[in-house]
């Protein structure tokens, strides 16, 4: 009788341990799931921030490129040169190798 009780008690304990293990594993999985979900959602927000940064940089790059293109324009340069008083060449002089083209006044 005593032995039977002991065996029964032992069985109950084993079942109880099994339940505990099951719940522990379940809780661990749920926690992991929640943790991963939080991590992933944070990464999504991070990705959105990175994409926004990228777009801002692209806009900045486009703006700088626009300025560079404007600065590269010969038409604009010619207008500015005219404002500063520069003139187009009217006449080109060709000189011989042995010919003096500049000399200091004595």
């Amino acid at each position: 009788m005593i032995n039977q009780k002991k065996i029964k008690g032992k069985k109950t304990f084993l079942v109880f341990r099994k339940h505990i293990v099951f719940w522990l594993i379940l809780i661990a999985f749920i926690s992991l799931q929640v943790f991963i979900a939080i991590q992933v959602s944070t990464k999504g927000a991070g990705l959105a921030v990175l994409e926004n940064n990228k777009n801002e940089l692209l806009a900045e790059q486009q703006k700088l490129k626009g300025e560079l293109i404007g600065a590269n324009s010969i038409t604009v340069l010619a207008e500015k040169a005219q404002e500063f008083g520069y003139k187009k060449i009217d006449k080109t002089f060709y000189i011989k190798i042995d010919e003096n083209f500049a000399a200091l006044k004595k």
Partner: protein, 570 residues
């Protein structure tokens, strides 16, 4: 008790049936619609635009580029001010001339009707707005008005090179498409291929990384590095405008080509347009007369006919013309010289120098119609030059075997035959290139990121022998030095050239007053750096090319000599 139980059972059965019917309705009948709605809530899709490639000159300076612009939009739920007030505020920035009240009121109505549309949430109000305008609108701090970056085509040299570049407009679907010139010809390469991004997002619009994501990356448009020299291009534009004003011409064309390679260094045609505001111009402005319009070339054509006869060895430079003592009668027509001055027994060189029509009748008769046809075809007359610009056309050469004696005689001095300016330039470039014909090319290189590929210049065929090329070149040198345009010749420079004054055919006869004046030449004649054609449409100060097109040619050549470091002989 049993009745109650039955009642409960009936209730459950009814509830089950109702639920099933309802589920059937949602899942099957409304399934697709709801599924789409749901996807719209948790899925976000967007097109990734492919940036259009830039167009550069030969030294890497921009000719056309993708610049910064904005789309102005209204987020209707976020609007705080009255809609009418917003329309009035914005219209001031969207019209070109805010003092034009009619235009302003029309714009206010347009904006108001857009933001007042029933059920609208996000409404685009204006496309391609400049950054400066965006900044001014931002200063107003209008709640609900936002900006999205978009691409705008920028032409830093404004209307310069318009006929070369073409423009970017919209197709039927509202997509950016290139029209005319390089933008049209190279549209596919320049456009690239847009991509798309489709992914799941949470309630806040943030991407869910574990969700489904479909992404196709955009392929950036290729950039074109052209053979155009911006310095020369802008110079010929200025000179052509000056020339047109000075000689009272209706229009004109200047083409500068490298004869050895066929590289097109500059091309200008007037009237022109501004590609960044192409919509302000009518369609005829977009036609590039250098490649799309044909004209009867007149005396400049004589060099091709003479070159053919020299190559066929039917005559030599010192062969004397035995019909040049007076006007010559062909069928029912009498052919005279341009000034009714005749040169008995003139040599072939003198025929070219004097631009003698009767002498050229002699040459073409010596050559014969079939041979002349073959040579002209070999020179590329009657076929497209193959230039990489959209809109090239080619007038047909009269079919072989159908030439009458009159056709043969008049073709000798460039009448009754039509060419485009690019065809003529290409043909004379073959003479400058020691008899070898090349295909004119605007683009020298295509580039995408780090990858680039050269566009090889192609030698199409040998048209005439080196000897014949040298002989006709010498005749052109004599023509430049001692011909009608000798007064404008730059002494000491090695120029080979020929003038041409062509009458304009109108309704079956030639207009007595209107002419097309041309000058074509190359320099230095023994090792040419450039071949250049200048044509002026209906010059008013003088109808003769020697007094209009020739001085304009030399005024441009003077700058080109400096550009290429060409020194005078003496």
């Amino acid at each position: 008790m049993l009745n109650r139980l039955r009642l409960v059972i009936v209730f459950f059965i009814l509830a089950y049936i109702t639920l099933t019917v309802r589920l059937f309705y949602w899942q099957v009948v409304k399934g697709k619609t709801l599924s789409i709605q749901a996807r719209g809530q948790y899925e976000a899709g967007e097109t990734i635009n492919a940036q259009r490639g830039d167009i550069f000159d030969t030294k890497g300076g921009w000719l056309a580029a993708s610049g910064e612009a904005y789309i102005v939009y209204a987020s209707i739920p976020d609007l705080e001010l009255p809609k009418k007030k917003i329309a009035e505020d914005l219209a001031l920035f969207f019209v070109e001339d805010s003092s034009n009240k009619g235009e302003l009121l029309a714009e206010i109505d347009r904006i108001y009707s857009l933001i007042n549309r029933e059920g609208a949430i996000w409404v685009p109000l204006k496309q391609k707005v400049d950054p400066s305008v965006k900044e001014k609108i931002e200063e107003l701090s209008l709640a609900g008005i936002g900006f999205d970056l978009q691409e705008k085509r920028v032409y830093p040299e404004s209307s310069s090179s318009a006929h070369l570049l073409g423009f970017v407009g919209k197709d039927e679907s509202g997509n950016d498409t290139g029209y005319f010139g390089l933008e049209g010809y190279w549209d596919l390469a320049l456009s690239g291929k847009p991509g798309f991004l489709n992914r799941e997002q949470d309630a806040q619009g943030l991407p869910i990384l574990l969700g489904l994501t479909n992404e196709v990356t955009a392929i950036e448009g290729a950039s074109l590095i052209t053979n155009i020299d911006k310095g020369i291009q802008l110079n010929i534009e200025d000179r052509l405008k000056e020339g047109i004003e000075k000689y009272g011409a209706k229009g004109g064309v200047v083409i500068v080509l490298q004869p050895k390679t066929g590289k097109l260094m500059a091309l200008s045609a007037y009237p022109s347009y501004d590609p960044s505001s192409y919509w302000k111009y009518s369609n005829e402005f977009f036609i590039n007369p250098a490649i799309s319009l044909s004209f009867e070339p007149g005396s400049v054509f004589k060099v091709l006919v003479m070159a053919s006869a020299l190559d066929a060895e039917v005559l030599k430079p010192d062969t004397e013309c035995d019909i040049c003592a007076g006007a010559v009668r062909i069928d029912k027509y009498t052919i005279e010289t341009w000034n009714q001055v005749y040169h008995p027994d003139a040599t072939m060189t003198e025929v070219i120098v004097n631009s003698d029509n009767v002498g050229m009748v002699y040459v073409s008769q010596k050559l014969g119609a079939d041979k002349l046809y073959d040579y002209l075809s070999a020179f590329g007359i009657g076929e497209k030059s193959g230039i990489d610009l959209q809109g090239e056309s080619s007038p047909k050469l009269r079919e072989k075997g159908t030439w009458s004696v009159v056709d043969l005689a008049t073709a000798g001095f460039g009448q009754g035959i039509a060419v485009t300016p690019i065809q003529l330039t290409r043909a004379v470039a073959a003479i400058a290139n020691h008899g070898k014909l090349v295909a004119p090319k605007v683009v020298g290189k295509i580039k995408v990121n780090e990858w680039e590929e050269d566009i090889k210049t192609e030698e199409v065929r040998r048209v005439i022998s080196e000897k014949a090329a040298s002989q006709i070149t010498q005749m052109m040198v004599e023509a430049a030095r001692n011909g009608e345009a000798k007064w404008t010749h730059l002494q000491g420079f090695k120029v080979a050239g020929k003038t041409g004054t062509a009458q304009i055919p109108i309704a079956g006869h030639y207009d007595a007053e209107k002419t097309i004046a041309s000058f074509i030449g190359f320099a230095p004649y023994d090792d040419p750096e450039f071949v250049m054609l200048v044509t002026l449409q209906e010059p008013q100060t003088s109808q003769w090319a020697s007094e209009t097109a020739a001085p304009l040619w030399y005024s441009i050549a003077r700058d080109l000599f400096v550009r290429f470091g060409i020194q005078p002989e003496k």
